[in-house]
């Protein structure tokens, strides 16, 4: 996903001189070709994220479209104030490309696992928050971003995940339904967790008599509730699965949407990471399994009354 994103930035930069790439000590090989071909649109700055975000705000103020990449937490925690005040308050078209969303960096411990990024970033007015599920969606979103005047935060899920979304989507940010709109069990999810959810849906379809569907939300800023309201109303159980702490993410957004419509919230079931600093290491998958966010755990949750 990251490789696709960076390559897309390079392609966009070739077409549009307003596009610049800015990294924070990302390693010698990062976008080597772009560095050589478009040196004026490539910046590799030091390990100084507060400066980095202010710096790109200055570039954006002068008409550039900076795509900025570093590890998710170093944006959301280290440079939160710069994101809120320098970028969002001024509504500048900066794209924050956040590597290692969720438990991607599980082996590196709680300093590097970005499990609260949705909560932090969705609290910032004007900032649009995205969590694409595969490389196709990532690419389409970044192309789409070129004509959007608002600032963006984009969570990178992991690398090498299968492709589930069709390319050339007309509206890459809209919720995507997988299955019957009138299903008894409805999964709601975002980011790379869609792969575990779709596997769970397959498993349930093979073993259950009731229809099961899934909705993927590439964007968390606006859930477009009207477009799936009927599915929500029809479902007996709605499971919200996310690689995030229990509050401030997709579940919170869903709850607000449903509550605003005065609909039944009792059918909502939450599956998330705990509200804690996780001191186990292992892989991203290990953590999904441990917290019931893998396909087996999610299918089991769907069967539980």
């Amino acid at each position: 996903m990251r490789q696709t994103a960076l390559q897309t930035v390079f392609e966009l930069a070739k077409q549009d001189s307003r596009v610049v790439f800015v990294g924070s000590d990302l390693g010698a090989g990062t976008l080597k070709e772009m560095r050589e071909e478009l040196p004026n649109q490539f910046f590799m700055e030091g390990i100084s994220e507060q400066y980095l975000v202010g710096f790109v705000a200055g570039l954006a103020k002068e008409g550039f479209i900076p795509f900025v990449n570093t590890i998710a937490n170093f944006f959301t925690r280290r440079a939160f104030e710069q994101i809120a005040m320098d970028i969002a308050l001024h509504n500048l078209p900066v794209r924050l490309l956040a590597s290692g969303g969720g438990m991607v960096y599980a082996p590196l411990g709680p300093t590097h696992t970005a499990v609260d990024d949705f909560a932090l970033m969705t609290s910032v007015p004007k900032l649009r928050v995205f969590s694409p599920g595969d490389a196709n969606e990532m690419r389409e979103l970044l192309v789409y971003s070129l004509n959007d005047p608002q600032p963006w935060y984009v969570r990178f899920g992991k690398g090498g995940e299968p492709i589930f979304s069709p390319s050339h989507q007309l509206e890459p940010n809209k919720p995507k339904l997988f299955g019957d709109p009138r299903a008894k069990i409805l999964f709601l999810t975002t980011g790379i967790l869609i792969h575990e959810v779709l596997e769970a849906v397959e498993e349930l379809r093979g073993t259950s008599s009731f229809p099961v569907s899934a909705l993927h939300f590439p964007e968390l800023t606006n859930l477009e509730f009207e477009s799936w309201k009927e599915s929500y109303q029809f479902a007996r159980k709605v499971i919200v699965a996310e690689e995030h702490i229990p509050h401030g993410g997709l579940f919170t957004k869903v709850l607000h949407s449903v509550h605003a419509q005065n609909l039944d919230t009792k059918k909502l079931v939450q599956s998330s990471l705990p509200f804690a600093y996780l001191h186990n290491y292992g892989s991203q998958k290990d953590h999904l399994i441990a917290h019931g966010l893998d396909a087996i755990g999610l299918a089991k949750l769907a069967r539980t009354d």
Binding site: G46, Q50, Y51, G54, A57, G58, L59, K61, M85, D86
Partner: protein
């Protein structure tokens, strides 16, 4: 000349009629709320006034063709905004916005400057340590666009406690930004007292030079010295830092070098009137 002598000179230098007039207006404005960062505003008046009146170019009209070629100004120590507002008003750059209702609910002018409510303000500031990184971005943008405008940013000496300034200083030199001018309002005071009592910044000149800045020291209330330093055109590739020795509360005896006047609340209209009467050239 050592720091103490320079600060003594800054205290001793007299005020021009323009400087007195601007200070009177500043005090009048605070009548509305009875509060404000008066001390930090009084220390930057000559810096801002000389910049806007004698140094920066293409500021006449936000709608004009030349506006995109204007020099950019950022008040990183946003709490000194009264010092900026009165200069902008004096030069007729506020597009008719009413400054006399400063800090009231409907006012365009808050206790920190906002570009969304006052179009001539380049960038909203308030939380310290934000101006320099943004200024570096602006200066790099000018280079990329091959445009000749300069970027001026005023930072407070207390503000230099924030590490983001030094991150930006290192990058400004990396990018050879000879179109960037950092002005340090060195009034030697911060909210809790003297700089040295909170976090010693001395030797300030050595610090900036170690990063790679060309550094000039001036009396921050001496208009001629400021004019000369701010008009320094650079072509050596290094950014410029002007350390302006100033006095917090300059021009009002009871406020000078007083941390009480950093942010003064509950000032009565009568007290403000008596301060205005005390102002002398």
């Amino acid at each position: 000349m050592d720091d103490l002598n320079r600060h003594t000179k800054a205290l001793e230098v007299g005020l021009s009629p323009d400087s007195v007039r601007l200070r009177k207006r500043l005090l009048e404005i605070t009548k509305n709320t009875g509060r404000g960062h008066i001390g930090p505003a009084l220390s930057i008046i000559e810096i801002v006034d000389v910049l806007y009146r004698h140094v920066m170019v293409n500021l006449e009209d936000t709608q004009s063709k030349g506006w995109s070629e204007r020099d950019r100004f950022l008040l990183s120590k946003g709490h000194g905004c009264l010092g900026l507002y009165i200069v902008l008003e004096d030069l007729g750059l506020l597009d008719g916005l009413d400054l006399s209702n400063f800090c009231s609910y409907e006012s365009n002018f808050g206790g920190h400057p906002e570009s969304s409510t006052v179009p001539v303000i380049e960038f909203s500031t308030g939380s310290l340590g934000h101006g320099m990184p943004v200024a570096v971005g602006l200066a790099v943008a000018a280079k990329l666009k091959k445009e000749s405008w300069r970027v001026f940013v005023v930072v407070g000496d207390g503000e230099l406690n924030e590490g983001s300034n030094w991150e930006a200083a290192a990058h400004a030199c990396k990018h050879n930004l000879d179109n960037l001018v950092v002005i340090v309002d060195y009034n030697n005071m911060q909210a809790s007292g003297e700089i040295s009592d909170v976090l010693e910044m001395h030797p300030l000149k050595d610090k900036w030079e170690a990063f790679g800045f060309e550094t000039i020291e001036v009396n921050g209330h001496d208009r001629e010295e400021l004019k000369q330093a701010l008009n320094t055109k650079k072509s050596t590739g290094s950014p410029l830092c002007i350390i302006a020795y100033t006095v917090k509360g300059k021009g009002i005896k009871k406020a000078e070098n007083s941390s009480v006047w950093h942010h003064k609340a509950k000032i009565s209209a009568e007290e403000i009137d008596s301060l205005i009467l005390d102002l002398r050239t």
